[in-house]
């Protein structure tokens, strides 16, 4: 059997195991075993992938496999990975692993929670291994639906409203997406659903591309928090339980960027040529708009959600710049944002679990009370504002250097506007750090609180190691991604010189 199918099989087995589990310890056992297996598998895959590339393997997708699923529409269960999907799988496995520990003590309905959580991860893994449009779409939907229940049942605050809003908006996006996918399929002569094959055929009529490119780009863009379709993000993240926020901001939002790149841009370069500048303006707005909005928020999760709008905006921004370097930067930014946002949400969840408030005005002096969590928060903040040595810097610099390769006034202006976000980011991060961590504790009830427990420490340390690892040794990731971005970008550049 194909190695990649394990990424779907293991979560499926986990679901079975969870279903059969009788006690909370059994549930945890299944989760830890499954998440560790996935993590090990993704690490192994990364190594195997790098070795294969090192050995001179030049095929666009490796570890491919294809099984016909529904012949009349040429729907196949086809899998395959390139450098981009490999790092995304690695990211997902890390987040699932740490998310498990971040929701270690979750109450009530622990078993049901983990069932949905695992189903959500199944969708995510399935999406990243698929190379078939329809299978991809199916896994995408699998990843979306559990979110509704996870937020609606286990969330906090206005959870029903948030769950409904998030689901409806993302569903609205996927309606566009479905139209777009069908458009691609029929536009290309109804012969195949395979992404690589479709790109090779490259026969979708230009008039159709002009219609279906925005449909697909918007469909994925909603998930990638594209302005003005980002408003599900603050409400959704604020209400979601910790691990769900982690998984959602850490991985699910990456589905958006990944889809925009792999499906919308790759398959419809003429559509991109027509619409690229329009979307570039929207993403530039996202970048600064998210950052400025974050400055005045008072809820920790809102700050982080707006920060995500800004950072995910930068992903789409970089993709639309369409240079090898900027697209590599976009993928790096997806990776980096996934790790550091997961870290942020994990820490916010842990702080909230103790203080029962996320309002920055009610928190202060946490450094003395919970030093471990506070130091973790500072590290996450520094990663977020792009400190060298942590992941954010690597990604942002690659994006900016790549975007600067366009010398025309329009692109240059957009780039310079986007770079200003690094200052605004520093403002909102340091404002929060100064307010909630430093100073003296004003609330006497907080003085009795305790620092992180072992399971929380494990999750936090694991994420910090990844953030620092990417920040300190970026060259191999950059190479792996760059190699896979190359064919896609050169395909685009033929038409968009």
């Amino acid at each position: 059997m194909n190695i990649l199918s394990l990424f779907v099989l293991i979560p499926a087995l986990m679901l079975l195991g969870l279903w059969a589990a009788r006690s909370i310890n059994q549930v945890r056992g299944v989760m830890v075993a499954g998440a560790s297996a996935l993590l090990a598998l993704s690490v192994w895959l990364t190594v195997a992938y790098l070795q294969a590339r090192g050995a001179g393997e030049t095929a666009e997708m490796l570890f491919t496999d294809s099984v016909m699923w529904y012949a009349p529409l040429h729907i196949c269960y086809s899998v395959g990975v390139d450098g981009i999907s490999v790092v995304m799988l690695l990211l997902s496995a890390i987040i699932v692993f740490t998310g498990t520990f971040a929701s270690w003590k979750l109450q009530p309905l622990t078993k049901e929670y983990f069932l949905w959580f695992t189903l959500l991860s199944t969708g995510v893994f399935g999406f990243f291994i698929s190379t078939d449009l329809f299978t991809m779409f199916m896994f995408y939907e699998v990843a979306l639906i559990p979110m509704y229940l996870l937020i609606g049942v286990w969330g906090s605050g206005r959870k029903e409203y948030a769950a409904m809003k998030l689901t409806l908006m993302l569903m609205g996006g996927s309606a566009f997406l479905l139209i777009g996918i069908l458009g691609i399929y029929y536009g290309a002569g109804a012969q195949t659903m395979d992404v690589v094959e479709l790109a090779r055929l490259h026969n979708i009529p230009e008039s159709m591309q002009h219609v279906f490119f925005p449909a697909v780009f918007l469909g994925f863009g909603v998930l990638g928090a594209l302005f003005p379709f980002h408003t599900w993000s603050p409400d959704g993240h604020a209400s979601a339980p910790t691990a769900v926020s982690m998984l959602h901001a850490g991985v699910l939002m990456k589905l958006g960027g990944y889809g925009c790149f792999r499906v919308a841009m790759y398959l419809m370069p003429e559509g991109l040529a027509a619409w690229g500048d329009f979307f570039l303006v929207l993403t530039t707005i996202s970048v600064v708009y998210g950052a400025f909005s974050a400055v005045v928020q008072t809820d920790l999760k809102y700050i982080n959600a707006y920060s995500s709008v800004s950072h995910c905006g930068l992903v789409l921004f970089a993709l639309l710049m369409m240079t090898r370097t900027s697209c590599t930067g976009a993928i790096l930014q997806m990776l980096s944002h996934g790790l550091m946002t997961a870290l942020f949400f994990a820490l916010i969840g842990m702080i909230y679990g103790r203080t029962h408030t996320r309002d920055v005005r009610e928190l202060s002096g946490l450094m003395k009370i919970m030093p471990f969590l506070a130091v973790g928060y500072v590290v996450a903040g520094l990663a977020n504002l792009g400190l060298p040595g942590l992941s954010g810097f690597v990604a942002e610099m690659t994006v900016f250097v790549g975007s600067f390769e366009h010398a025309d006034v329009f692109h240059r202006t957009c780039t310079i506007i986007a770079t200003t976000s690094i200052v605004v980011t520093a403002v909102y991060i340091l404002r929060v750090v100064g307010k909630i961590l430093f100073g003296t504790c004003q609330n006497p009830a907080h003085l009795k609180l305790t620092d992180a427990t072992w399971d929380e420490r494990l999750a936090v340390i694991c994420l910090i190691v990844c953030v620092a690892g990417l920040g300190l040794a970026p060259w191999w990731v950059s190479d792996a991604i760059g190699g896979s971005v190359e064919p896609i970008v050169s395909h685009l550049l033929v038409l968009n010189p």
């Binding site: 809003k165 409806l168 908006m169 302005f227 003005p228 980002h230 408003t231 599900w232 708009y289 400025f292 909005s293 400055v295 005045v296 928020q297 090898r324 370097t325 002096g365 450094m367 003395k368 520094l382 504002l385 792009g386 400190l387 060298p388 040595g389 810097f393 690597v394 610099m397 690659t398 900016f400 250097v401 790549g402 600067f404 390769e405 010398a407 780039t415 310079i416 770079t419 200003t420 690094i422 200052v423 520093a426 403002v427 340091l430 404002r431 100064g434 961590l437 430093f438 100073g439 003296t440 970026p474 060259w475 950059s478 190479d479 760059g482």
Partner: protein, 630 residues
């Protein structure tokens, strides 16, 4: 010279060790680890300097630029990539010596100063991190590596300014320092991007073809990079973070905010100097004007401050202005004429680092003794603290430019270069040098002479600091006494060729006279128990005094920009727009869907009559449509 990599690696190891395991160590052990490691780094730096300068000169008479280590860290494209490595040339080797010396002294000093403080281990961890970042900055092999470490020194500075993190002023100051320098760094970053794009490399030494292509854009790129340098080096109007940064522990102020990090901007201009001279001489002169204005502004503010660390902070700003001016007045003129300012600037950087660190460490001893920064709590301290007194006096004489102390020699070279550039610039800088002497001796008399605050000193008798604190003072004072006689021109010059420093008799005499007059004036005004002249002046010009005391309202102006404009006029409306317009539209869609559902719902009433009515109406409409169409 491969061992130079250890100069970078050792502080990293010490940082990691102290950061991860520091809390389990005693204060003494963690301090010892930090200090011993720094001692080793200092030894290695001296060894590197000795080895480097004893290498034979190249055929053209310059020292070779060595790159013992270099590796691609982050590839972007074929030609653009961030490398990490070690570059040795006269100025980087000089900086290694400066940084390691001052840092080592500060490590020793902190043993006494920080004794018993909570977070002692953390303090030493941050010091190691800072030292590493600063060393990495000076040995950078390319402009992007410099930027990487530039950001790292920024964050170490942030962490150290905010060391007393329960103090609101410290938190605000650390935040301000980081954000203001970050804002300036945006210019640096864009400058780098322009440089990289047009010249086609991040290296300091681009190829000929790259320079041909990028020549048009170089002035812009260098100018933007200088914005970053101006932020770090506290040039007007980006200087506002530095006085506030004095909230950090005093040894930190000595190390970061006097001797090393704040001269990073000067170092950056010096690093890009060949490009400035060849392609952007006008930009270089802008550097000079900014530096001169800053030097004047800061000197005038320093004359009226009452917090001793603030006086020193403004003095630092002013002195960095001198270094910038010296670089800025350079021209492409042949032989040593054009590049004299370069040598003078580097020389002043060297001597200033030593005597300014000495001043700050001395101030630390004084603050340690009286538990306050305010001059009103001092006065007459000379009898309690003899060592601090003498060393402080030496530093004051040096910064005032009195021979034979080091400051005289370096400042004299700067003034000579200024006079060569234009007499106006020369006289302005001479005047500022006079102001320097005046405010330094105002400070000196205010601390060690003048009226003693007897009640306070009776309640708590000031005492001389322990040897761990006075020893660094003595070392730095010794360096200050002899550093002027270093044949600096043999090591660092604008064109790389060896050069014998000779004093310009007129300039030297003028500056000496000005300094002596200024000191005499300060003696007249401040050495006695009462200060009738100064008080009368303050009464005579209350507005001016108030404005200077409030630093000419620069902080208020910045606060207005950040709080009022960015916070209230941009962020608030954007957030409101997001919640009410963008999100409001989404909610409206949901509401509209819901409402139309509510509207249509009554049609499913279950009453047959209504259904029949609609049915008939439908048939009629369809029939009509058919008839009309056919």
């Amino acid at each position: 010279m491969e061992y130079t990599i250890l100069i970078l690696l050792l502080p990293v190891l010490s940082f990691l060790l102290l950061a991860l395991a520091g809390m389990k160590m005693s204060h003494r052990v963690s301090g010892l680890i930090g200090t011993v490691v720094l001692g080793a780094v200092t030894a290695l730096s001296y060894m590197a300097a000795y080895d480097y300068f004893s290498l034979p000169r190249q055929a053209d008479g310059t020292f070779a630029t060595l790159v013992p280590w270099n590796a691609v860290w982050l590839p972007f494209t074929e030609s653009l990539h961030i490398d990490m490595g070690v570059l040795l040339d006269p100025i980087s080797v000089m900086m290694l010596v400066v940084i390691s010396t001052v840092s080592f002294m500060v490590h020793i000093y902190s043993f006494g100063y920080m004794k018993g403080e909570r977070g002692f281990q953390r303090y030493y961890a941050f010091l190691s991190l800072f030292t590493f970042s600063m060393l990495g900055l000076v040995v950078a092999t390319n402009i992007f590596q410099m930027y990487v470490f530039w950001e790292l020194v920024g964050v170490s500075s942030y962490l150290l300014i905010g060391f007393y993190y329960t103090k609101p002023e410290a938190i605000a100051a650390s935040k301000k320092a980081f954000i203001v320098t970050r804002f300036a760094d945006l210019g640096f970053l864009i400058g780098i991007l322009i440089y990289g794009y047009y010249v086609g490399t991040f290296s300091f030494t681009p190829t000929e073809t790259g320079l041909m292509q990028g020549a048009m854009m170089l002035p812009l790129a260098l100018g933007l990079m200088f914005v970053g340098g101006a932020g770090k080096s506290a040039m007007f109007p980006l200087h506002i973070w530095l006085p506030d940064a004095m909230e950090g522990p005093t040894p930190v102020s000595a190390l970061i905010h006097a001797a090393t990090m704040v001269v990073a901007g000067v170092y950056q201009v010096a690093r890009m100097f060949p490009l400035y001279i060849a392609y952007a001489p006008e930009t270089l002169h802008i550097v000079a004007y900014v530096g001169a204005f800053t030097a004047f502004y800061a000197a005038s503010v320093a004359c009226v401050q009452s917090d001793i660390k603030r006086v020193l902070a403004f003095s630092t700003i002013s002195q960095i202005g001198f270094m910038m001016v010296a670089l800025g007045v350079c021209t492409g003129a042949p032989s040593h004429e054009g590049g004299l300012g370069y040598m003078a600037s580097m020389f002043h950087l060297f001597t200033h680092a030593m005597f300014k660190a000495l001043l700050f460490l001395g101030a630390g001893c004084i603050i340690h003794a009286v538990h306050s920064n305010e001059m009103s709590t001092m006065g007459g301290l000379r009898k309690y603290m003899p060592v601090t007194h003498v060393t402080f006096l030496i530093a004051c004489l040096a910064i005032s430019g009195i021979p034979p102390f080091s400051g005289f020699f370096s400042k004299d070279e700067i003034l000579t270069a200024c006079f060569a550039f234009s007499p106006v610039m020369g006289w302005i800088m001479t005047l500022i040098a006079g102001m320097t002497a005046f405010y330094m001796f105002r400070l000196y008399y205010g601390i060690f002479w003048g009226r003693e605050n007897k009640e306070l000193h009776a309640a708590h008798v000031p005492h001389e600091s322990p040897l761990s604190m006075t020893f660094p003072l003595m070392v730095l004072a010794a360096i200050t006494c002899v550093a002027g006689f270093i044949p600096f021109g043999h090591f660092v010059t604008g064109d790389g060729l060896s050069y014998d420093i000779h004093l310009d008799a007129t300039v030297a005499a003028t500056s000496c006279v000005v300094a002596v007059v200024a000191i005499a004036l300060a003696t007249f005004m401040y050495a006695r128990d009462t200060q009738p002249v100064a008080d009368a002046l303050a009464r005579r010009f209350p507005r001016l005094h108030e404005a200077a005391y409030r630093r000419f309202y620069m902080d208020e102006a910045w606060l207005f920009v950040t709080k009022r404009i960015i916070f209230r006029c941009v962020s608030r409306p954007v957030a409101w727009f997001d919640r009410h317009v963008v999100d409001g539209f989404m909610n409206f869609l949901a509401w509209a869907a819901n409402a139309s559902g509510e509207e249509v719902q009554p049609m499913q009433s279950g009453r047959i009559q209504a259904y029949v009515l609609w049915f008939m109406a439908g048939i009629i409409v369809l029939t009509l449509m058919l008839l009309l169409c056919v």
